[in-house]
């Protein structure tokens, strides 16, 4: 009598379990295909020229040196600007604000900024800096990237400081350490690995950001270290070169894509190792 029901339930169970296995297979296959295409097309484009020559005119020899340098300079500067601000703000949320309404508002706003469309941040910095300076500049690119770094660092700093046991804070207070010193010498130090992980993840995040650079740092066909002038960057080069009809530009776009992906993946693996070693 019950056999029919049992059979149906077992069949449904089998079907859905197969479907979820298939979903996993589809996901993995799609992602393997992307990485495969990246490796196949990117390695062909990698040569010594890539690191020594500037982006070329269509059809001629060239590399990505200006874009590599630009990306490194702007990412580094953005992290340098964004990290202290993010760390201090995260410290306020974890140590001083905690349950105040101000901290509540800041947390809410910060989480919105964390996943706000990056192109909107580009528009903001365009209005804020490019319009006033009347030209594109690396400074504008740096500010745009820093605006992306800050929420990431705020979130990880707060989370990591909240993990620090209260007994440490109490111990510091009991020997008479003022709050500011106990935060800097005790809680920051206890949470150091976690905060560094957050900064690494922020670097990984901005090194692939394209949209906020399109109309802030703009791009530059020559190597430049002038922060007051437009500056090239890898993602912007991919954007321009992939949309072009020239074969040698396509090859360089793939090489740049491979470089970015390799950098991002190794940064996140490194961050993960650091995190797991801390635990």
């Amino acid at each position: 009598m019950n056999r029919g029901i049992y059979f149906r339930r077992r069949a449904i169970n089998q079907i859905f379990l197969w479907l979820s296995t298939a979903a996993a297979a589809i996901g993995i296959i799609a992602l393997i295909l992307i990485l495969y295409a990246l490796l196949k097309n990117g390695i062909g484009g990698l040569s010594a020229n890539v690191f020594t020559m500037d982006t070329p005119a269509p059809g001629s020899q060239g590399g990505l040196a200006n874009a590599l340098a630009g990306s490194l300079i702007m990412s580094f500067a953005a992290v340098l600007v964004g990290t202290p601000i993010g760390m201090l703000a995260g410290t306020y949320l974890a140590e001083y604000g905690r349950h105040s309404w101000l901290a509540f508002v800041i947390r809410f706003v910060n989480d919105i900024l964390l996943s706000a469309p990056s192109i909107i941040i580009g528009l903001f910095v365009y209005q804020l800096m490019v319009v006033r300076m009347h030209h594109f500049s690396a400074w504008a690119g740096i500010v745009a990237l820093a605006v992306i770094v800050i929420p990431v660092v705020v979130r990880t700093t707060e989370n990591m400081l909240l993990l620090v046991p209260n007994t440490l804070r109490e111990a510091a207070a009991s020997i008479g350490a003022p709050r500011a010193i106990s935060i800097r010498a005790v809680t920051w130090r206890a949470a150091r690995a976690g905060i560094v992980t957050g900064v690494l993840l922020a670097i990984a995040r901005i090194s692939g950001e394209t949209a906020p650079l399109l109309f802030t740092a703009f791009g530059n066909p020559y190597s430049s270290t002038d922060l007051n002038a437009p500056m090239a960057s890898l993602p912007k080069v991919i954007f321009d070169f992939a949309n072009s009809p020239y074969d040698n530009w396509h090859t360089l776009a793939w090489a740049a894509a491979l470089l970015i992906t390799a950098a991002v993946l190794s940064l996140s693996i490194f961050a993960r190792l650091l995190e797991s070693r801390q635990r």
Binding site: A89, V109, V147, P178, I181, G208, A211, T261
Partner: protein, 331 residues
């Protein structure tokens, strides 16, 4: 006795008082600094709002509410309307969610219930790593690899297959360009898939084992445990995670810009070229001439920010309620 000694010590040792004062001052300074940095986050947010609103005032003045409903986008006559871009944004993201949410939940079920133990960690890590791959990588792959393949091998078949079915023949109408709304949605769904799977798996793992064991004990099949016990328990987290993914999809620029075709009209067919708000801004901003053109781009940016704000805010509220519940349970 002790009190007297302490009092005397305070009066006798002025250095101590000075040190205390110094500590107090540096404490206040540090506190002020952290507070200022925290306020800067709010100021940035307010700055974004102000710059978008002030940038878009000329466009809204010129076109009024019609800006939202008109799908004309003509830089030559300086007539602009946001509807085609809004339509493209909503349709690509909606379709992407339709594909990615079931797949993502399927992957999470596979990871928590079916996956062999040896594979569990590597697969979990792989998914989390892939969630961090920059979107421009998906864009370039979509343009050079997926779109040509889709155009040559899949699209003609789909068009033929649906050719005689009433409504679907319009939705999947040719010609097969390779790029278009549908391709963009596919690329977007691949991009948000790792994110959805990672969040869903994390939420599934917060389900107390006792609940699952009790269900298995009454004779439930694995699927019944997932569908009737785990999923209802984890629903706020799954919905919140999915909304975060939707927020990303709506604002995603680079994965879409390459493959959408950048055409400002609304076509019944999903295979036709279209545009999204972010793709329009990315493609046209640096070439936009005239204040009204630039202002219109700011205006669609404001609309995009408004939409994503609503989505992200509700995602947060949902995840907060889950956090509170989980917190209450564990303590």
């Amino acid at each position: 006795m002790v009190d007297v000694v302490l009092d005397e010590a305070y009066e006798v040792d002025p250095a101590r008082g000075a040190a205390l004062k110094r500590f107090g001052r540096s404490d206040a300074r540090f506190r002020f600094l952290t507070r200022a940095a925290a306020l800067l986050v709010v100021i940035i947010f307010a700055g974004i709002m102000v710059s978008l609103v002030s940038g878009s005032i000329p466009a809204f003045k010129a076109f009024g509410w019609g800006f939202l409903t008109s799908s004309v986008w003509n830089p030559v006559t300086e007539k602009f309307g946001a509807f085609a871009a809004i339509y493209g944004t909503v349709v690509t993201s909606g379709l992407a969610m339709l594909l990615a949410v079931p797949l993502g939940i399927g992957i999470a079920i596979f990871l928590t219930e079916l996956c062999p133990r040896a594979l569990k960690r590597p697969m979990g890590i792989a998914i989390e790593l892939l969630a961090g791959v920059p979107s421009i990588i998906y864009g370039i792959w979509g343009l050079f690899v997926f779109a040509p393949y889709f155009q040559a091998n899949i699209q003609p078949g789909l068009i033929d297959f649906f050719a005689n079915i009433p409504v679907l023949q319009d939705i999947f109408a040719g010609p097969p360009y390779g790029i278009g709304i549908f391709t963009s949605a596919l690329i977007l769904s691949i991009m948000i898939l790792p994110f959805i799977s990672a969040v869903t798996r994390d939420v599934f793992e917060t389900v107390p084992p006792v609940l699952k064991e009790a269900a298995y004990g009454t004779g439930c099949t694995t699927w019944e445990v997932m569908w009737r016990i785990v999923l209802p328990f984890a629903r706020p987290g799954v919905v919140g995670g999915a909304m975060l993914a939707l927020g990303r999809a709506l604002g995603e620029t680079m994965a879409v810009t390459f493959v959408i075709g950048n055409a400002h009209h609304i076509n019944e067919s999903l295979f036709a070229a279209g545009t999204t708000i972010s793709a329009t801004i990315a493609n046209e901003f640096t070439e936009a001439l005239g204040d009204l053109y630039v202002s219109s781009l700011f205006a669609i940016g404001l609309i995009l920010f408004g939409i994503t704000f609503i989505v992200l805010a509700s995602a947060q509220l949902m995840l907060k309620s889950l956090e509170r519940r989980a917190g209450g349970k564990s303590s």
